[in-house]
Point group: C2
Chain length 462, copies 2
């Protein structure tokens, strides 16, 4: 890895000018300490927060957690170290030897020779209590402390791994999907703007942005035009990608512009914040969320696109399972029972593909009582999506070729009939419903003209 080699050189050549305080020996994370196979007395220093402290005869047992893993490291010390400050919540630095643990439940423990309290904690005033499971509603009041709980720290570790996995998926894609001479995927990562003047076809769920009242500049002049928070980076990715491009995104967004604009890159992606001013407190509506979006030029079939979608889902899931096994287990046991088994079931199987028309047939033949009656030409509801996934054996399902009338004008006309469809695809997954959406773009100018005219949009897209 070039990166690693360069870094090593960089760090070797670091400045050695004198500083305020002397350098301390290197510390080891709790995660790495726990991973050390066959620990045999290596000298280490561990820093973190005390999760539990217990005195037993002549011995003091501390569990120290530093956020690097769900599990804590057991620190064993002579009872002479015992002090009132060594209590739940205090931050400590412990030095000693990493040895095999005689106790059950852990491979290694730290035989401490030195324990220093860096900051102590008033357990009475501290809103998070030892061994208690606090409801999320309670933790909402303490945004600065809630990441000390197992559940929220786990979510942040998983999110960090998933973000890294998405980056590395797009970086490595080319090695497998493409020509043997390909050295990388050719994907360019783009930071699409957050502040935008595009009001997204008047969808009416935007946040507007203005200098705050404290700012002295006249409001009406700041951006010259009304400015909003982006609802999607799609537009910006599209103008950078080109040809017959396709979009993969985590949420469906109906927006487009400059469709035939000549573009610059064949493959671009972004992981960016997006915003919706929807006044809803459900699990599916957030004011601010992150979305992965990609545009690929010169794609010729939905099959190519579905390969990328399946690869993205599987490689991200596998990275999380392999790098955060304990966090996934926590979720599996306490938050979403059976979650890990369901994920492994999805990874082991090929995803299925059905057409929208087949999907509607399946739903019509279902014995289930749906709130919304399934009918050709009408959007699938979440209840329909969940039924389809269950019907297919709890494996993710691609639904392809949606009715032309349901989809925006820029999706590619399949020129079929009598059920007229476009080359759009949604990936439905167990427990969620639609997770990723995408489509082939209409690249034929006269098709676009006709559909714009039919939708009364010709002028808007002049």
């Amino acid at each position: 890895m070039l990166g690693a080699r360069c870094l090593l050189q960089a760090l070797r050549s670091c400045s050695s000018a004198p500083c305020a305080r002397p350098r301390a020996p290197a510390a080891l994370s709790v995660r790495d300490a726990l991973r050390a196979r066959g620990a045999s007395g290596e000298r280490v220093k561990v820093q973190g927060w005390i999760r539990s402290a217990r005195s037993q005869k002549e011995v003091l047992f501390l569990h120290v957690n530093d956020g690097s893993s769900l599990e804590s490291l057991q620190v064993v010390a002579d009872s002479s170290f015992d002090s009132r400050e060594l209590a739940f919540g205090s931050s400590v630095e412990a030095q000693g030897q990493l040895v095999k643990s005689p106790s059950r439940g852990q491979n290694v423990e730290l035989k401490a020779e030195k324990i220093e309290v860096i900051g102590n904690c008033d357990a009475k005033a501290f809103p998070i209590k030892y061994k208690e499971r606090h409801p999320l509603e309670y933790l909402r009041q303490y945004p600065h402390l809630r990441c000390r709980t197992n559940a929220l720290a786990s979510i942040l570790r998983v999110r960090s791994e998933a973000t890294a996995a998405v980056h590395s998926f797009f970086k490595q894609l080319g090695q497998h999907l493409h020509h043997p001479l390909a050295l990388d995927s050719g994907f360019v990562h783009i930071h699409t703007p957050v502040i935008t003047s595009n009001d997204c076809e008047g969808a009416g769920e935007l946040f507007q942005v203005e200098p705050s009242s404290k700012t002295k500049v006249p409001k009406e002049n700041f951006f010259n035009v009304p400015a909003f928070l982006t609802v999607s980076g799609q537009l910006h990715l599209e103008v950078m990608s080109g040809g017959n491009s396709t979009l993969i995104e985590m949420k469906e967004v109906v927006k487009d512009l400059n469709w035939l604009g000549i573009r610059a890159f064949t493959r671009v992606f972004t992981i960016g914040p997006t915003f919706r001013a929807e006044n809803s407190q459900s699990r599916r509506h957030l004011a601010e969320f992150y979305m992965v979006e990609a545009e690929i030029s010169f794609v010729e079939s939905l099959q190519d696109l579905m390969q990328v979608m399946e690869g993205l889902f599987k490689s991200t899931t596998m990275m999380v399972l392999s790098n955060c096994p304990k966090d996934v287990e926590l979720c599996h046991k306490f938050i979403a029972p059976g979650h890990k088994d369901r994920l492994e079931h999805m990874l082991k199987n090929n995803f299925l593909t059905i057409s929208y028309t087949e999907a509607v047939e399946i739903l019509k033949q279902a014995s289930e009582n749906f709130t919304f009656t399934p009918e050709w030409g009408v959007d699938l509801q979440t209840e329909h999506e969940k039924y389809l996934v269950k019907h297919c054996g709890n494996i993710p399902v691609f639904v392809i070729n949606y009715p032309l009338a349901l989809k925006p004008f820029y999706m590619r006309d399949n020129e079929d009939g009598p059920h007229h469809t476009v080359a759009a695809v949604d990936l439905l997954v167990p427990g969620v419903g639609e997770l990723i959406g995408g489509s082939l773009r209409e690249e034929r100018y006269h098709f676009l003209e006709q559909r714009l005219a039919r939708s009364g949009l010709t002028e808007a897209y002049q």
Copy 2:
């Protein structure tokens, strides 16, 4: 690499259900085609946009660019392929054999057997002209087309590489800076919120966020409190990191809260959008920009922090130089003359460290006429920073230990005298001035209490 292996499995197990159109053979990026050493007739397909077309006797020469590199691939075809559509700006797909090029200036070229025009371009109406260098002011009018120019495409490629380099720096850091048993850096990547209720000590350069007028919900209820766009993720990183933490950031931000809040992770970083409602059109003031921020717990000296800062600068720079050599050369030649030499000079040398007090002495002894007279206790101006860098031989310089009175209350008191300073550090680099700032945090409760009282902030931070 686990990621790559998983991905391969994922892609192998992809669905093979029938789709609208048949799969095409794999394409190769222009970048990979150009990198192919000893090309000897490999069959490839390349897709991109025509940068130039030229007929010579019986032969047609096209230069095709797909955004993967600054350079275009020369496509050589029989003149029978010639058509009016094969002109500047059109998107094409060319298939044929990759062979050694007899021409100067390139190693390989594509001997085309098939050329298909995917989308043609009306060169007369197209605002970007062949072989012309368009000024940036002109290109501003065409946000959807400007990335087709060499300069802007280069910037986006460099930015994509730099972003990846920052991610991989924080991922790999631990392997070199830490204990031999360490397997990774332990850094957790955090997406800090963009919408925030924190108004940042009333700095008065914020954007306010409200549902747009189209939204039907009553404005005053949306977030319960006034909401702004973030000026820094520092606050959120701080509450997640802990102990004696330090911040590295690309711009100095004066903001803090909940200083002694007990935290959850020892190392966190973010690359996030930040916003300033400053009404200025200079190169140094943007309404929206990205900032790298990191918080590290249990840091004991500025030296540790400076190692991370120097490592981040050098490894990011080396990755860009090594992965985008042609883009850097373009910048070196046309945009910032001599830029590459300056960067290599910085990489070869150890960064220097001087104290703020030494810096003021150097400035006082300078023969230069400064607009602002240098004086102990007064902030360094950009003119001062640039002089210091030049004085130190155009090598990046750490300036450490700033006057206590200049810095926020949370920076660690050095308890020195008569010039009372805090453990803060700025990295000054040639051509820019301050690039990265950081400090040790004051972890001693009574010091914080005293300084809050002296600043009249006790109540605000209750």
